[in-house]
Amino acid sequence: MSRVLVLFAHPVLERSRVNRRLLDAIRDLDGVTINDLYEEYPTLDIDVKREQDLLLSHDVIVFQHPFYWYSVPAILKEWQDLVLEHGWAYGAGGTHLRGKITFNAITTGGPETAYKKGGYNRFTIRELLAPWDQTAFLCGMRFLAPFAVHAALKVIRDEDLADCRASYRQLIQALRDDRVDLARAAAGENLAAELADVMGREVA
């Protein structure tokens, strides 16, 4: 059993379409802690000690957020700057995150086809996530492919998202129960599309 921490960032969750529904899909799971950053720190005054303690008591760290400007909402950047301290997360003595698993669960406005060479976004999601990839690397964490829901603007009703919600829940459950093939998951492009490939045999 692993313990899963979801670091959730959405500035106006009440107007969210996809993130809210995805989050609702995993709220009730045992062994999963949801840390709603904008609710916790409405003025962006992040409690570093609390955040570090949360990281220490979990094995899988999920960053769930809309993919604003090919990156994260402001609070997550603030979180990254303050919580991942030198000497704690990286550098001399910075070994506290070593061996943990991490990935981004994101929603994008554009379709999957836009995120490639020649598409109008020119880069793949993985390429755009390079800063997070490298952050994980520097902290000795294992960085998996993102769970990306594309064309989030199309989603209006619950039914539009039923598949995504189910896969997200399955993925989190599988990570919690150590049933994910980490090597494959690290090499993939989008876990939302490749869920069956990366799951342990008993589920697949």
Binding site: P11, V12, L13, E14, R15, R17, Y38, E39, E40, P42, T43, P66, F67, Y68, W69, Y70, T108, G109, G110, P111, A114, Y115, Y120, N121, A151, A152, L153
Partner: protein, 634 residues
């Protein structure tokens, strides 16, 4: 018809309903209203109330008993213990010295020595009913002078017991009294002592162990009136018990109140007794007013006036000197002296008791009774005199406490006013190792903070020499945190004028004060309740289900608008009052319109980056051009 109970009740209530609000409106206080009402319905003006007034007064005296019960409820045992010095020392001395001085004066006027002692003891008493009501009405009960007055009154109530024991000894029929001192009940005194002790223990025991289960039981029954009945029963029961053993009922119920002050039913008892107390006290005051024998006063005006003025002057002097030797400051001393200088209602009882014991004749007592009533009626005017003329004079002119000399004055910050506001600012600065020089004009605050290890200089920050001594010219910041508007403005003027280079951060009472300070060139002005109201508004949104981050953002948006409006209105405040109020109304509407969610301009102006509504609208126009993220450069 005038004899019927209903008619009597109507007359008394009408007097209360008519005269009390008028007296209040005229700023004379409720007590004087009752007394004047009593005079008007009494035998000498309208004659609605006649001889039965005496009986009514005895009945209404129970209001005093209830008042002391309620006072006791407010007074935890620990607090009472703190007051032991003023009660025993100040109170005891007041009774003894006043009695001696008045008796001496009576001797000088040729009164027989036994009568003189009896009159001295009688006139040493003050009116618990009038004094406590007047102090409470004016909010002076919690001041040091008020607490002292209360302590003295308590001691007077206690000393009634020995005084009642002494009177028979003073009587002409000395033989009986000297050979065996007996109480009214005819028991030897040492047994009475045991009875008294037993009664006190019983009251404490009942308060501790009986009242709670009884009230719990009644709470189970959920009957409002049974609570009230029980509360009345407790008070009346204790009064009865005290009468049986010869103690003052008022004292007994006071004790019961103190015992119950820690109980969870304290507020319940207080609210139940309060209306009865108020009505009975009013009835009592009215009957005092109705008792005044204007016929007698008319026949002996000079003598009675002499007794009243002489006695009150003597008591006033004694109280002032005692207050001084017990370390009260000037205003507290004057408050004590003015509030307690009348002769109390207990004198009625003692005077008739004196006649009964043949210490003096009824003819000797009647002008005294008239004097007592008049001195009680004079108490509310004395309070008015005290409040309007004596206290301002005593407070302003005679600051007994010398202003502190400031030895080290090299702090970068000077804070004027260290109450609730200044302390917060000071603590934030001190927590960051910034040295502050603190000035305050409240001697109690200075002492309390001194005990907590915070050095506060006692002094008036509007004085320029003090500002110099505090090193304002070398300071980097002057924090103006006094709560008095006029005082703050004066200090701001002085600092701006004499130390123009030092920036000021100031606390403003309200908008008018805000602009006043801004006009003086104060850099930062903060309205004193703004921040806490702002935080409460955010909490309110959160309780109503708004996300924390959204609640903060909405409140900030409102605050920005509010501040903008404040600046605009500041222009109008001085020049155009009419236009000001028109503008306030318009701005309120505007603020609410801005905040309303259905207003599309709010979204467009502030949240477009997080909102994809506009992108969705685009998609309808050009389905091919799918925007990748919510905000994408074209």
């Amino acid at each position: 018809m005038t004899d019927s109970i209903l008619f009597q009740a109507f007359v008394y209530l009408a007097a209360a309903v008519l005269f009390v609000p008028i007296a209040k409106r005229l700023g004379l206080g409720a007590v004087l209203g009752y007394l004047v009402g009593g005079v008007v319905v009494g035998p000498w003006v309208l004659g609605f109330v006649g001889t039965e007034g005496h009986k009514v007064m005895h009945f209404a005296e129970f209001g005093v008993v209830m008042m002391l019960f309620v006072v006791g409820l407010e007074l935890r045992p620990a607090l009472l213990w703190q007051l032991r010095r003023p009660i025993v020392g100040l109170g005891g001395l007041q009774v003894a010295v006043s009695a001696a001085v008045i008796a001496g004066a009576a001797l000088l006027f040729g009164v027989e020595w036994r009568s003189a002692i009896a009159v001295g003891l009688t006139f040493a008493m003050s009116s618990t009913a009038i004094v406590l009501s007047s102090l409470a009405e004016r909010g002076l009960l919690k001041t040091s002078g008020g607490q002292s007055a209360f302590s003295v009154l308590l001691m007077q109530d206690i000393s009634v017991i020995p005084i009642l024991a002494v009177f028979p000894v003073l009587g002409i029929t000395v033989a009986r009294a000297v050979t065996d001192i007996t109480t009214e009940a005819g028991r030897p005194s040492w047994i009475s002592g045991l009875f008294v002790l037993g009664a006190v223990v019983a009251v404490v025991g009942i308060g501790r162990f009986v009242v709670r289960p009884v009230f719990q039981f009644l709470a189970g029954a959920r009957l409002r009136e049974s609570f009230t009945a029980a509360a009345l029963m407790i008070v009346i029961g204790i009064a009865l018990l005290m009468q049986q053993v010869g103690l003052s009922p008022a004292l007994g119920t006071f004790l019961a109140g103190v015992v119950l002050a820690d109980s969870e039913y304290r507020h319940e008892l207080e609210t139940d007794i309060e209306p009865f107390k108020g009505l009975l006290l009013g009835l009592f005051f009215i009957s005092v007013g109705a008792q005044i024998d204007f016929g007698l006063i008319g026949s002996e005006p000079l003598m009675i006036a002499g007794i009243v003025v002489g006695t009150m002057a003597l008591k006033l002097g004694v109280l002032y000197v005692l207050g001084r030797s017990f370390g009260l400051d000037r205003p507290a001393r004057w408050l004590l002296a003015f509030s307690l200088c009348q002769i109390g209602e207990f004198a009625f009882v003692l005077l008739s008791f004196g006649v009964q014991q043949s210490i003096f004749t009824a003819a000797f007592a009647s002008p005294l009774i008239a004097a007592v009533a008049i001195s009680m009626v004079l108490t509310p005017p004395a309070f008015i005199l005290l409040e309007r003329y004596v206290l301002p004079w005593a407070t302003d002119k005679g600051e007994e406490r010398p202003q502190d000399t400031i030895d080290h004055a090299d702090s970068p910050v000077v804070i004027a006013g260290y109450g609730r506001f200044g302390q917060m600012v000071g603590r934030i600065l001190r927590a960051n190792r910034i040295k502050v020089t603190i000035l305050d004009l409240d001697p109690e605050m200075v002492d309390i903070l001194g005990r907590l290890g915070v050095k506060v200089y006692y002094g008036d920050a509007s004085r320029i020499d003090l500002l110099h001594a505090a090193g304002v010219e070398r300071a980097k910041l002057f924090v103006l945190a006094v709560d008095d508007k006029a005082e703050a403005t004066k200090i701001a003027e002085n600092v701006r004028h004499h130390f123009p280079k030092v920036p000021i951060l100031a606390r403003a009472r309200d908008r008018g004060h805000y602009w006043e300070l801004r006009a003086l060139g104060v850099q930062g002005v903060h309205r004193e309740t703004f921040a806490s109201a702002y935080e409460t508004g955010i909490e309110a949104l959160k309780v109503l289900g708004y996300r924390a981050h959204t609640a903060h953002r909405l409140a900030r948006k409102w605050r920005d608008h509010e501040e903008k409006v404040l600046e605009e209105l500041g222009e109008l405040w001085d020049k155009d009052r009419e236009g000001y109020f028109r503008q306030v109304k318009a701005n309120l509407d505007e603020a609410e319109r801005l905040m309303r969610d259905e207003d599309p301009t709010v979204y467009d102006a502030r949240d477009a980056g997080w909102d994809n509504e506009s992108l969705r609208a685009d998609r309808k126009v050009d389905a091919a051009a799918v925007a990748p993220t919510t905000i994408e450069p074209s």
